[in-house]
């Protein structure tokens, strides 16, 4: 519906759609004509309304006509709006709207202002050396953090609104002569196909980017750090930023990404390589240690040295649960403590650690409910799990799955289960990139930044595990 020349008619129609109390209809005078400034009072900068709209309007002499209204305001981020629908959209988006009597259009002013979080180091990826900036919930700030790092016309930001109600701004970000065009097109298409009422976080978008069938491992990478995001874009990936979310998404995703800590790139390659191996070993231990221990206790005593076996038999004497039950319930307690410590307010969190870790553990052992080796195995496995926090959720599930399998049919079942996991992983792909690359399919050149961390000066080309338009990263000399 088009705006009319009559102010009252226009205001009446808009008022019918914007019934909310937080929308202000402020009557003003523009020379001899009447006008109304409409805005959502908690989303705009009221000072700017005064300075940029009301002051020039009050200084205007004469009658408002089409040309004079447009030339009256010098603010660069203004926009001419001609339909009622657009007027409403502008107001709910946080812009101020000026409608004047005698003209059939309105002017929208982008003077959004709302409280936002300061840029801080993200808690999920802290570094000792290296940049400490992290993304915030405000999209323009996040975009600026990227743009500050890539000052190139090839950095492309494409904005899309997703969400029927939320109208969340989603930005597709890539380097046009590095990212594969087919990949960009595929992501763009997937984003366009999203049909949902609201996008509240980037994880909503991630669900639509991956396979439609539920998958155990994620298929979209994420990061909270602009330096990491920029590095990924430079490797040929496409990033997706979502307004309201401090977590940026990247595709394609390779499983090895989660083993690559930000600090690996700022430390010596030797220590980074060792740290990476430790992470890999830790994940392996986290997954199979409880299962191996239970199956050894139940079915394969020969795996345990006799002196340790005697210690185990000593420690489990009088414990009412079988080894598998014992491990299962200790696992359950660990997960409960974990869940509680995440959910609880920070000041209570400390109490949970003390009560859970010390009191509960110590007392349970003394009371003869669980044995010290079991407690130690679960604790070690839990700690190992958090060396790669990004994989905590799928690994935690797999850990339980392996435990149940090993407790049921022993080590052969465990081997078969791990084989099943391998079949699953090798057959998964994220935007045509195999999840387990560069290990399988083996890409020798990419092992430099996966199995070990090579010197930066040796990494001449972009990862070949990903499809990218431009392979060369630096000249060899």
């Amino acid at each position: 519906m088009q705006l009319k020349i009559n102010l009252d008619e226009n205001v009446k129609v808009i008022k019918q759609s914007l019934k909310s109390d937080d929308v202000n209809f402020n009557q003003i005078k523009i020379g001899d004509s009447d006008g109304v400034v409409i805005f959502a009072k908690d989303l705009v900068d009221k000072q700017s309304i005064g300075d940029l709209i009301i002051r020039p309007a009050s200084l205007f002499k004469g009658k408002v006509c089409k040309d004079s209204l447009e030339q009256l305001f010098f603010y660069p981020e203004k926009q001419k709006v001609t339909t009622i629908k657009d007027c409403i959209n502008q107001v709910v988006s946080g812009n101020a709207l000026l409608i004047s009597d005698g003209v059939d259009f309105a002017i929208s002013f982008d003077i959004k202002f709302f409280q936002m979080r300061a840029i801080a180091e993200p808690p999920t990826s802290t570094v000792i050396k290296g940049p400490r900036e992290g993304f915030v919930e405000t999209l323009p700030v996040n975009v600026s953090l990227i743009r500050r790092r890539i000052k190139s016309p090839h950095l492309i930001m494409e904005n899309t609104e997703i969400g029927r109600f939320s109208k969340t701004m989603v930005t597709l970000c890539y380097i046009d002569n590095v990212a594969d065009k087919k990949l960009v097109e595929k992501v763009r298409k997937k984003l366009q196909e999203i049909n949902i009422d609201a996008i509240l976080d980037s994880s909503y978008v991630a669900k639509f980017l991956g396979d439609k069938t539920p998958t155990l491992f994620k298929q979209v990478g994420n990061t909270e750090k602009p330096d990491i995001l920029v590095a990924k874009i430079l490797e040929g990936r496409v990033a997706i930023l979502v307004d309201g979310s401090p977590i940026a998404l990247t595709v394609p995703y390779l499983l090895i990404e989660d083993f690559q800590s930000p600090s690996d790139y700022y430390n010596s390659p030797y220590s980074a390589t060792i740290a990476r191996w430790i992470r890999m070993i830790s994940v392996f231990l986290a997954l199979v240690l409880p299962a191996l221990f239970v199956s050894a206790e139940l079915f394969h005593l020969q795996l345990i040295p006799i002196s340790f076996l005697l210690t185990i038999v000593n420690s489990i004497k009088g414990i009412p649960l079988s080894p598998s039950y014992e491990m299962f319930f200790t696992f359950l307690i660990f997960e409960i403590l974990n869940e509680a410590s995440v959910r609880m307010p920070r000041y209570v969190g400390m109490v949970v650690s003390i009560v859970g870790g010390l009191v509960l553990g110590e007392t349970a052992v003394n009371a003869g409910i669980i044995s010290p080796p079991t407690l130690m195995i679960i604790a070690l496995s839990g700690i190992c799990l958090y060396t790669v926090p990004e994989l905590e959720q799928p690994l935690s599930f797999l850990r339980l799955f392996f435990l149940v399998i090993a407790g049921s049919v022993g080590i052969y079942g465990l081997i078969v289960a791990v084989s099943g996991m391998l079949i699953y992983l090798v057959s998964k792909e994220s935007f045509s990139a195999p999840l387990l690359a560069p290990f399988t399919p083996l890409v020798k050149k990419d092992l430099k930044d996966s199995f070990y961390k090579g010197f930066l000066t040796e990494q001449n080309s972009r990862p070949q595990s990903l499809q990218n338009a431009n392979r060369r990263r630096m000249d060899e000399n």
């Binding site: 005593l301 005697l310 038999v313 009088g318 080894p323 598998s324 149940v404 407790g407």
Partner: protein
């Protein structure tokens, strides 16, 4: 398939959960498991096998040193059957995978002992890397002995079977596999240490076997348990395994004493780092340490002659010397003198000749001469395989070199 997948997953989850939570698919609780550390096999009065197992029973205190030992016995017409009987009557599951010692009773040496050991060789439930020894008397007596060497007597026996540098290499340990390899080999000869109980305080004296619970009556099992934590009850017994029992086709045919066992080790095994005594050389007793043992046995055969050459090359050093009597040539020196070398060489050569005499006398080819004949002189094998012990020409060449 899309609608089928979740149903399959749910079914599998259900199945696995049942398996996990029912937890009863032939499972044996670790606490009901008898961790058998040694097995002693004797002949029962009625001709059956009497198998006695030593079990490590941990105490609830958590200290391994406080472990108790217990014994279970079972009888059966076969060794495997006897172990089964033992388990079914005691309620404990006999876990033999940790058994590292098999003791054969002296009353079984008249028959083919492979009848006893074959079970251990074939079954996957016993490691055939377990040591096998012959008891001087009843096998189960060895398990009942209280010794200060270890809380569990079988562990004490295993200790003396280990090859430890610095010790005399007077024991010739053998595991089930090696014994069976000898038995099934060309020469059908094998050996095992003969374990005697001695007094720990005076090794010359025989020890007292505490002999707890020998001679189980009927077909059944018996259990005994004793705490070995208290040192006061440990007794003063130790074990001697320096004698080696020789077997041909599984039957005992003779023995090697301490000296010959040592000589046998010198020829067949590398005894680097071990020591041996040379007594009374001009009134001085010497302890000589072997730095390098470079000995080898060589079998050569042609149409006319079969010769067995034994070259013993030792690089030695004097570790200790003690003056006895009125000797005047006592010098504190770690380099072997010419005279000492000459005497040592003569004595070792004599010992080797004695070994050959034992081989000829007993027919036990523990040096593997027939095996070497088969491997290295295969063309002449058929010529000599039946009479090689009689026709072989033996040559011994001992060479000692002093090292500082």
């Amino acid at each position: 398939m899309k609608t089928f997948k979740p149903k399959i997953a749910l079914f599998l989850l259900f199945l696995i959960s049942i398996l996990f939570f029912s937890n009863d698919f032939g499972l044996i609780d670790i606490e009901k498991t008898a961790i058998i550390t040694a097995i002693a096999i004797d002949k029962a009065e009625d001709g059956d096998y009497l198998v006695t197992c030593q079990i490590a029973v941990p105490e609830a205190t958590g200290a391994v040193s406080e472990n108790q030992k217990a014994q279970m016995s079972g009888k059966g017409s076969t060794v495997g059957g006897a172990i089964k009987t033992m388990g079914s009557l005691s309620g404990w599951f006999p876990q033999t995978i940790f058994c590292n010692l098999i003791i054969v009773g002296n009353d079984l040496i008249d028959q083919d002992v492979i009848g006893v050991l074959d079970y251990f060789s074939k079954t996957m439930r016993v490691q055939d890397s377990a040591q096998v020894v012959l008891a001087e008397k009843k096998a189960k007596d060895l398990l009942s002995v209280s010794t200060p060497l270890d809380n569990i007597s079988s562990f004490a026996i295993q200790k003396i079977l280990l090859k430890n540098p610095g010790f005399d290499q007077d024991v010739c340990p053998v595991d089930i596999k090696t014994f069976c390899v000898g038995y099934y080999g060309e020469s059908k000869s094998s050996y095992m240490p003969l374990v005697k109980i001695i007094s720990a305080e005076d090794p010359e004296k025989s020890g007292d076997s505490s002999g707890g619970g020998s001679g189980s009556g009927g077909s059944g099992s018996e259990q005994s348990s004793e705490s070995q934590g208290d040192t006061k009850t440990k007794g003063t017994n130790a074990f001697d395994a320096t004698t080696t029992a020789l077997f041909v086709k599984g039957k005992k045919v003779g023995e090697l004493d301490k000296t010959l066992t040592h000589t046998f080790n010198m020829i067949t095994k590398k005894i680097n780092g071990t020591a041996f005594s040379i007594d009374d050389v001009d009134g001085v007793n010497y302890l000589v340490t072997v730095k390098t043992d470079d000995s080898m046995t060589c079998v050569k055969a042609d149409q006319n002659q079969l010769s067995v050459n034994i070259d013993i090359n030792l690089y030695c050093q004097v570790s200790d010397q003690t003056k006895v009597g009125n000797s005047s040539v006592f010098e504190s020196n770690d380099v072997m003198s010419e005279k000492l070398i000459a005497i040592a060489e003569t004595r070792i050569a004599q010992n080797v000749e004695e070994l050959f005499a034992v081989i000829r006398q007993t027919g036990c080819d523990f040096l593997g001469i027939k095996e070497k004949l088969y491997r290295f002189n295969h063309k002449q094998y058929s010529r000599y395989k039946d009479n090689y012990l009689q026709v072989m020409d033996t040559r011994v060449n001992v060479k000692l070199q002093g090292q500082s």
